[in-house]
C-alpha cells in the first residue's frame, strides 16, 4: 500500500483542534527494574480518534493502561508522572479508581465477554454503578448499547444466549457495547481487531467512526491502514519513547522523524 493511498484515506477526515479531555505529562512506567515507558506526554481530545502505533514491545499497551490505571492490577508495575481527566489528577487520593474505570472504558485485544447471557454482559456495568433505576431503563440501556455497537439486529432474538456463544467479531462488538453501556467519556481499545477477520474488522472500524465525537477513543493497532482509516491523530512509539505525535495525515505523509518514516514505510518494526 503506497503512502499516496494512505494520504487519501487520512485526508478525508482532518483532525480537529479542541480542548484535551485527557492529558498525560512525563509518564514513566517501570516493571520492576525494566523501564518500559520513558517520559511520555500527550493530549487526548474527544473530537478525534487517537491511534497508537509502533513496533511490538514499544510500550503502547503499557501507556494505554495508564489512562484507566489498569497497571495498578500488575504487581510489579510502577507509574510516575501526571495524568488528568478533565483537569483532575487520576492518581490523586480522592480519585476513586472504580469510577475512573467507568469513565474510561477499555476494550481488550482478545474478546472477553463474561460467560453470562448477552443481556447480562451489557447490564452488569450499569447495574453495579446504579445507572438504571428500573428494569425498563435497564432494557433501554441494553438496547441502546447494542444498537450503537451495531450488534442489535444480530442478537435481538437471543439476548438470553451466552455471550461466549457469539462469533469472535460479534464478541468484540459485544465488548464494545459493554464498555459504552456505562456511558464512559473515553474508550481505550488495545488492538481490538487483531483476532478478527476483515469483515468483522470493517464493522468494528465503522463503529469506531460512528462513536467518534461522542467518546474520546484511543486505539492501539499494528495495522497501518487501520490507523490511517479510523484515526485523526497518530502517536508513534519506539522503545518506550513517544517519537512523534501529530495529525494522522501528517504522520502518514510527511513525518518529521526518520524513525517514523522508516516504520510507516515498512522498513523495520
Amino acid at each position: 500500500m503506497s503512502t499516496d493511498t494512505l494520504a487519501r484515506i487520512a485526508g478525508k477526515q482532518e483532525a480537529v483542534d479542541a480542548l484535551p479531555l485527557m492529558t498525560a505529562r512525563d509518564v514513566h512506567v517501570y516493571y520492576g527494574q525494566k523501564h518500559a515507558l520513558k517520559g511520555v506526554s500527550i493530549d487526548i481530545t474527544r473530537e478525534n480518534v487517537t491511534a497508537f502505533i509502533g513496533p511490538s514491545g514499544c510500550g503502547k499497551s503499557t501507556f494505554l493502561r495508564c489512562f484507566n490505571r489498569m497497571n495498578d492490577t500488575i504487581d510489579n508495575a510502577r507509574v510516575t508522572g501526571r495524568i488528568e481527566l478533565e483537569g483532575q489528577d487520576i492518581h490523586a487520593p480522592e480519585m476513586d479508581v472504580v469510577q475512573l474505570r467507568a469513565r474510561v472504558g477499555m476494550v481488550f485485544q482478545k474478546p472477553n465477554p463474561f460467560p453470562k447471557s448477552i443481556y447480562e454482559n451489557i447490564a452488569y456495568g450499569p447495574r453495579i454503578h446504579g445507572l438504571a433505576a428500573t428494569q425498563q431503563e435497564m432494557d433501554e440501556i441494553v438496547t441502546r448499547s447494542l444498537t450503537r455497537a451495531g450488534l442489535w439486529d444480530e442478537v435481538k432474538d437471543r439476548l438470553q444466549d451466552s455471550g461466549t456463544a457469539l462469533s469472535g467479531g460479534q464478541q468484540q462488538r459485544l465488548c464494545i457495547a459493554r464498555a459504552i453501556a456505562v456511558d464512559p467519556e473515553v474508550i481505550l481499545m488495545d488492538e481490538p481487531c487483531s483476532a478478527l477477520d476483515p469483515i468483522a474488522t470493517g464493522k468494528v472500524e465503522e463503529l469506531i467512526d460512528e462513536l467518534r465525537g461522542r467518546y474520546a477513543i484511543v486505539i492501539v493497532t499494528h495495522n497501518m491502514q487501520q490507523a490511517a482509516r479510523v484515526s485523526q491523530k497518530t502517536a508513534f512509539f519506539h522503545l518506550g519513547d513517544l517519537v512523534e505525535y501529530d495529525d494522522t495525515s501528517v504522520i502518514f505523509t510527511d513525518p518529521k522523524e526518520s524513525r517514523t518514516r522508516d516504520y510507516i514505510t515498512g522498513r523495520y518494526g
Partner: protein, 435 residues
C-alpha cells in the same frame, strides 16, 4: 517484494541435498515411532486393567461376604398380651404402657409358640417390637399377636451357610438338638428370610442380630455437617484471600508452604491435636460429632484451600480485566466473576476432602468416638460414633455374625462415597463453563 521471490528457489543452494522422505533411515524412524506408540498403548492398557482389577477384587470380596448381611433370618413368635402378665394393672397411660413388662410376656410367648428351644433360637431383643405395637395400638392388649423377630445370629448363620465342617461338634455354636428344633419350626412355616431392616435402622448392639448402623450413619452425617460448615467457608475464603488479595511476600510464601505441608500430615496427628485442644483445653464433650467435625475440618481445610486456589488460578485473567475494565471493584470482580467460574473446581475439591473425612477413622478414635453407643445422636454434642469407626469396632469382633455385618457396613459406606462422588460430578457438569 521481488527480491524475496528470487530468494525462494535459492534455498537448496545452501549445500544440503533435498530431504529424501523414503530413505531407509526415514523408514526405520517411522517404524520405530509406530513401535513405541504401540508399546506405550499396551503398557497403558495393562496399567488400567491392573487398577480396575484390584478395584473389582475389592468390590467382589465385599459383596461376597457382605451381601448376606442385608437379609436376615426371622422367627414367627405368638405372644399373648395378657395385661396381668405385663403387670399393667388398670393404668393405660402412655407412661404405664412404656414401662410394662413386655420381656416376661415375650419370654412366655417364645416358650409356648416355639417350644423349649425357643429362647435359644429367637433374638432376646424381640420384646421391643411388642412395646412399639402396644404403644401404637393399645386395643391389642388381651389378645394374642404374631410377630416376626430376628433369629439369633448363630441360627442366622446356620440358615445362610449351614454347618461349618471345620468346627468340631462340641465347639459348634448350635447343637444338633437345636438344629432339629430349628428345622421343625422351619417346616411349620415359622422361619423366613427377609430384608434386614435392623442393619440399616438400628443402633449398635452387643448381639449381632440386633446391631445396626443407624447410629453410626447419623453420627457420620452430623460430623460431616460440622466439618463442611467450618472447612468450606474458611477454606474458600482463605483461598480467595491468598490468591486475589494477599501481597506476594515472604509471609504468604511461608503460609503457602505450611498449607501444602498440612495437607500431607498424617490424620492421626489431627486427632491428637483435637484431643489436646478441643477436649483438654476447651473442654468440649468427648465422643461428640462437634469435636469430630472440628478435628476433621482441620484435616480437610488444607485440601479445600489447595483445590480452591488451583480453581481460582485457572480462571482466565481476561475475565478479571473485563470486570475491572468496566469499573467493578476488586470485591465485585472476585465474588461475582472469579469465584462463580472457579466454583466447579472448588466444589470438586471440597467433595474430595469431605469424602476423605467421611472415611477417616484414626483421628476420631483419638477423641473418643469409639465408645459403644446404642442410640443415634440427637445433636452434635451427643456422644456418637461414625461409620468407619463402627466398621473398625465390628471388625474386632470374632462372632461370625459381626464379620458379615462388617462387610455389609463397608458396602453401605462405599455406596455413600459413591453417591457423594456422583454429586461431585453432577455439580461439576452443572456449573462447568463452556467457553
Amino acid at each position: 517484494m521481488s527480491t524475496r521471490a528470487e530468494a525462494l528457489p535459492a534455498a537448496p543452494a545452501s549445500g544440503r541435498p533435498p530431504t529424501d522422505w523414503k530413505s531407509p533411515d526415514m523408514v526405520a524412524r517411522v517404524k520405530r515411532r509406530y513401535r513405541s506408540e504401540t508399546i506405550f498403548r499396551f503398557i497403558g492398557l495393562a496399567a488400567l486393567v491392573f487398577a480396575v482389577g484390584f478395584l473389582a477384587l475389592l468390590l467382589a470380596t465385599m459383596l461376597r461376604s457382605g451381601l448376606s448381611g442385608f437379609v436376615q433370618t426371622q422367627v414367627k413368635v405368638s405372644v399373648e398380651l395378657d395385661p396381668t402378665l405385663l403387670e399393667l394393672g388398670s393404668d393405660r397411660s402412655g407412661q404405664a404402657l412404656l414401662n410394662a413388662d413386655y420381656l416376661s410376656a415375650y419370654a412366655r410367648g417364645l416358650r409356648e409358640s416355639l417350644g423349649p428351644a425357643g429362647p435359644d433360637i429367637a433374638s432376646a431383643n424381640g420384646w421391643t417390637a411388642l412395646r412399639e405395637m402396644v404403644m401404637a395400638d393399645p386395643t391389642l392388649l388381651g389378645r394374642t399377636v404374631e410377630i416376626w423377630v430376628p433369629a439369633r445370629s448363630a441360627f442366622d448363620q446356620y440358615a445362610k451357610v449351614g454347618i461349618d465342617p471345620d468346627i468340631p461338634p462340641e465347639l459348634a455354636p448350635v447343637s444338633s438338638e437345636q438344629i432339629a428344633a430349628f428345622e421343625r419350626l422351619s417346616e411349620q412355616g415359622r422361619i423366613r428370610t427377609s430384608l434386614n431392616r435392623t442393619l440399616l435402622f438400628s443402633g449398635d448392639s452387643t448381639t449381632p442380630e440386633a446391631a445396626g448402623i443407624w447410629g453410626a450413619f447419623i453420627g457420620s452425617l452430623l460430623t460431616i455437617a460440622v466439618t463442611l460448615a467450618l472447612a468450606f467457608p474458611v477454606g474458600v475464603l482463605s483461598a480467595v484471600y491468598l490468591e486475589e488479595f494477599a501481597p506476594r511476600n515472604r509471609l504468604t510464601d511461608f503460609i503457602e508452604v505450611s498449607i501444602n505441608n498440612l495437607a500431607a500430615v498424617p490424620s492421626i496427628i489431627f486427632g491428637l491435636l483435637g484431643l489436646a485442644v478441643f477436649l483438654n483445653t476447651m473442654g468440649l464433650p468427648r465422643s461428640a460429632p462437634l469435636v469430630g467435625g472440628l478435628t476433621l475440618a482441620l484435616m480437610t481445610l488444607p485440601v479445600i484451600v489447595i483445590a480452591a486456589r488451583a480453581a481460582i488460578k485457572s480462571v482466565p485473567p481476561s475475565i478479571r480485566d473485563a470486570a475491572l475494565g468496566i469499573g467493578a471493584s476488586r470485591l465485585q470482580t472476585v465474588f461475582e466473576h472469579v469465584v462463580p467460574l472457579a466454583l466447579p473446581g472448588i466444589l470438586t475439591g471440597t467433595i474430595i476432602g469431605v469424602a476423605r473425612a467421611l472415611g477417616e477413622t484414626a483421628p476420631l478414635l483419638m477423641i473418643g468416638m469409639r465408645a459403644f453407643i446404642v442410640d443415634a445422636p440427637r445433636s452434635i454434642t451427643d456422644p456418637a460414633t461414625v461409620l468407619p469407626v463402627q466398621i473398625f469396632l465390628w471388625s474386632d469382633n470374632v462372632d461370625r455374625g459381626f464379620v458379615e455385618k462388617t462387610s455389609a457396613a463397608i458396602l453401605v459406606l462405599l455406596v455413600l462415597l459413591l453417591l457423594i462422588n456422583g454429586v461431585a460430578i453432577y455439580l461439576r457438569n452443572k456449573f462447568e463453563q463452556k467457553w
